[in-house]
């Protein structure tokens, strides 16, 4: 007899990717559960939230999902006070109080990019929302924001896919033959970023990487290895997740045609709708990177010291104790404090940017694309169970409004 499959293995199984929510429901029956391999899963809303704000839980003690070069860690894998210092430095050229208008001022460029991508829909009657829309849009945004030459995009596309595709999630799956060996990808991308920061140091532009390379705030400057680690994080976190949010958004709207129509008639609905989307189909399904530094009691269970913990954001987002009708997509539920961007000190750095990008993408899609319909439901998914999203999303339509 084979050992019963652990819940984490069942979740990691690519077959579960299109609809992992019944597994999460099962998981929530034991809010804090010890898996066979000793990892604890936490799957209910309040318990996840409390651990995200618990100083006894570390992000630093587990090896990085994406190994960073040169030993420097990104803020994602640092604990306070080090984390806070790095995050303050990286926030300086990005948001308030020092640079309050950076994201807002990108909206026009974003709208132009989306317009161009949707204009290209006009020549066809079917498009892949991933390859033709959700993927190229955020890439062009972060290239502009960070100061990455757009023509280099295919290279770091390959690197990030190779890194993310290779991460071990406990499920057996065939690696994509087009991808690089992850170590090679890591070294190549690290070298590329080091060179890019060098270039910006010598000839700074008004982009974020230039600011990180040359500006000094009250906390000083990141070391060159820290700059590279930050570059890695920003490029990966700033892209893959947004692709999935936009794609999940289109998918969800096509599964709820009445909501698509409402959005078309009332573009302001996008604001609460995106929050609901981050609850209902969060691009980051769980955080596999926490570890206890002390014994922690949650919901009557003591997680021992030095234990790995998976915080199941997507399960918490559907916790019926927190959200009435949790399995329904309700774009204007008023009370929607989801865990899609995490919580606590690591709360998503790029949230304002991701919200604006997704808002422009979804409102324009709703307004312009006539009679869109899913070609396949469910669509094919990527293997990664953490950064979950469709690999392709073919959509048929009957023309594009101008």
């Amino acid at each position: 007899m084979t050992a019963p499959e652990t819940m984490m293995r069942r979740i990691a199984d690519p077959a579960a990717r299109p609809d992992p929510y019944p597994l999460y429901e099962e998981l929530r029956r034991t809010p804090v559960a010890r898996q066979d391999d000793g990892v604890y899963t936490v799957s209910t809303y309040w318990e996840i939230r409390s651990l995200l704000n618990d100083p006894r839980v570390s992000s630093q003690t587990r090896p990085p999902l994406v190994p960073t070069p040169s030993g420097a860690r990104s803020m994602l894998r640092l604990d306070p006070a080090e984390h806070d210092r790095v995050r303050r430095i990286v926030t300086r050229p990005f948001g308030p109080p020092h640079t309050p208008r950076r994201v807002f001022e990108m909206r026009r460029g974003m709208a132009d990019t989306v317009r161009g991508l949707l204009d290209a829909f006009a020549d066809k009657d079917q498009a892949d929302i991933v390859d033709d829309f959700a993927y190229p849009f955020p890439i062009s945004v972060i290239c502009r924001l960070f100061g990455v030459p757009v023509e280099d995009e295919p290279r770091f596309h390959l690197w990030t896919e190779s890194l993310l595709g290779a991460a071990d999630f406990g499920a057996e799956h065939k690696p994509d033959p087009h991808l690089l060996d992850p170590d090679a990808a890591k070294i190549e991308m690290g070298g590329y970023l080091a060179e890019l920061f060098d270039k910006h140091r010598k000839d700074p532009g008004d982009d974020m990487f230039s600011a990180l390379a040359v500006d000094d705030g009250p906390d000083g400057r990141l070391t060159p290895p820290e700059q590279v680690a930050t570059g890695f994080l920003l490029l990966i976190a700033g892209h893959e997740t947004t692709v999935n949010l936009i794609t999940n958004g289109v998918l969800t709207l096509l599964r709820h045609p009445q909501e698509l129509k409402r959005l078309k008639d009332d573009p302001d609905l996008a604001v609460p709708m995106i929050e609901e989307l981050l609850r209902y189909e969060p691009p980051v399904q769980y955080l596999p990177n926490r570890r206890t530094m002390d014994a922690v009691e949650v919901a009557g269970t003591v997680i021992p010291k030095d234990t790995d913990v998976n915080l199941m954001l997507a399960a918490g987002n559907r916790d019926p104790r927190r959200f009435p009708d949790a399995d329904r997509f309700v774009p204007d539920r008023g009370d929607v404090e989801h865990l899609g961007f995490g919580n606590g000190v690591h709360y998503c750095f790029g949230a304002p940017l991701a919200r604006l990008e997704t808002r422009i993408a979804l409102t324009e899609f709703a307004r312009r694309v006539k009679g869109p319909e899913l070609v396949a439901d469910p669509p094919p998914y990527r293997v990664n169970p953490v950064l979950r999203g469709p690999r392709h999303l073919p959509v048929a339509y009957r023309g594009v409004r101008s």
Partner: protein, 457 residues
Amino acid sequence: MSAERIDRVVIVGASLAGLRAAEALRDEGFTGRLTLIGDEPEPAYDRPPLSKQVLLGQVAADATALPLARDVDAQWRLGTAATGLDLDGRTVLLADGSKVPFDRLLIATGTRARPWANEAEAALEGVLTLRTSADAGRLAALLDAKPRRVLVVGAGFTGSEIASACRERGIDVTVAERGPAPLVGALGGVIGEAAARLQRAHGVDLRCGVTVTSLEGDEAGRLCRAHLSDGTVLEADVAVVALGAIRNTGWLEGSGLAAGPRGIAADAACRAFDHNGIATDDIFVAGDVARMPHALFGYQFLSLEHWGNAVEQARLAAHNMLCASRDRRPHLWIPAFWSSQFGVNIKSIGVPTMGDEVVVTQGALEDDRFVAVYGHRGRVIAAVSFDHGRWLDFYRCLIESAAPFPPEFAGVDRPPPGTVPVPACFPDPSVPSHGPTVTVSGYAPSERRITFTPAPA
């Protein structure tokens, strides 16, 4: 619903607590006649921005209106003060001579700024207090006129926030504080020291251990200088008197309620006590004007001048005045408030003023980024953070579970080993100062039984 029909609910005090109670009453299904009586002429507005965004010119003084979360279908009697309460006749008396009958009354009359004691000096142009939106409008206009120097009298939260706004606008400011440090009444001397450093680092001329003895005007009746107890004379065009608050209970004198300068005593269900210490069944209290016992803090009476407290008690009072007696809920809210000053977000949870000792548990005092925990007889009673507010939920759990003090745990951003608790250094509460925003006032609802006579404020 209780057996008695409740057709008329009257709320006196149409500000934060009054408004939230009105909403909650309708949410709870009350369909009868609802009357809100408020002495301020304008619709309810929010006060925290008055010492922050308004003074920075980011928000106009008359633009902090509190939005109603729902239609409350009420009679509004704004610009009319309540002047008396007839307990037996269940009637509120108004300044215009009218009488408003009720089945249930909520008292939410809050506090007002403690004025400068010398009336002639208080009347000088350039001398003011800060409690209302009109006050904030005047102060903002005075700051716009680029005064040579602003004097802030009292370094509690309001005074410190005003000083912070002045510095952010490049205006010279002197803060005079009777105690040894800013915020000392609310947070004690150890954290007060951190606040003092913060003020000085931002260019505040901070003078502790002194009082302002007199304010002097020129011939036109404008403030021109101030005299301090250490003999110094200070040139200033503006003096903001920030010496704490006085509870608006004067209108209840002689009513038979346990109302006095420390507020109106109530039980944990928000029911006001009469002067015999017996809970009334039809009079409820909420917000800054209330003081009530709290199970987690030894059932001592707490007066909390906190935004969150007003909201919480308002909801609780609304629920408890409509429900059957066995469905009443107790006031179990853990006191919490925030302040922003000198670029630092300060948050507090629990009752720091009860703390005997304090210890830094995360971060470092000298970085102005830390969490400090207060202990009372060996248990955790409060926590205060500077730019570390995200952790406070963890500390709330420690307070709720009466965790042992000092808390021992392995975690992130812990101070070096050997960091030990030190005395929290609260000033003797009998020494008058600007007053903390939480006061703990013993056990008895009315200190003197039967012959209750409120002391003058």
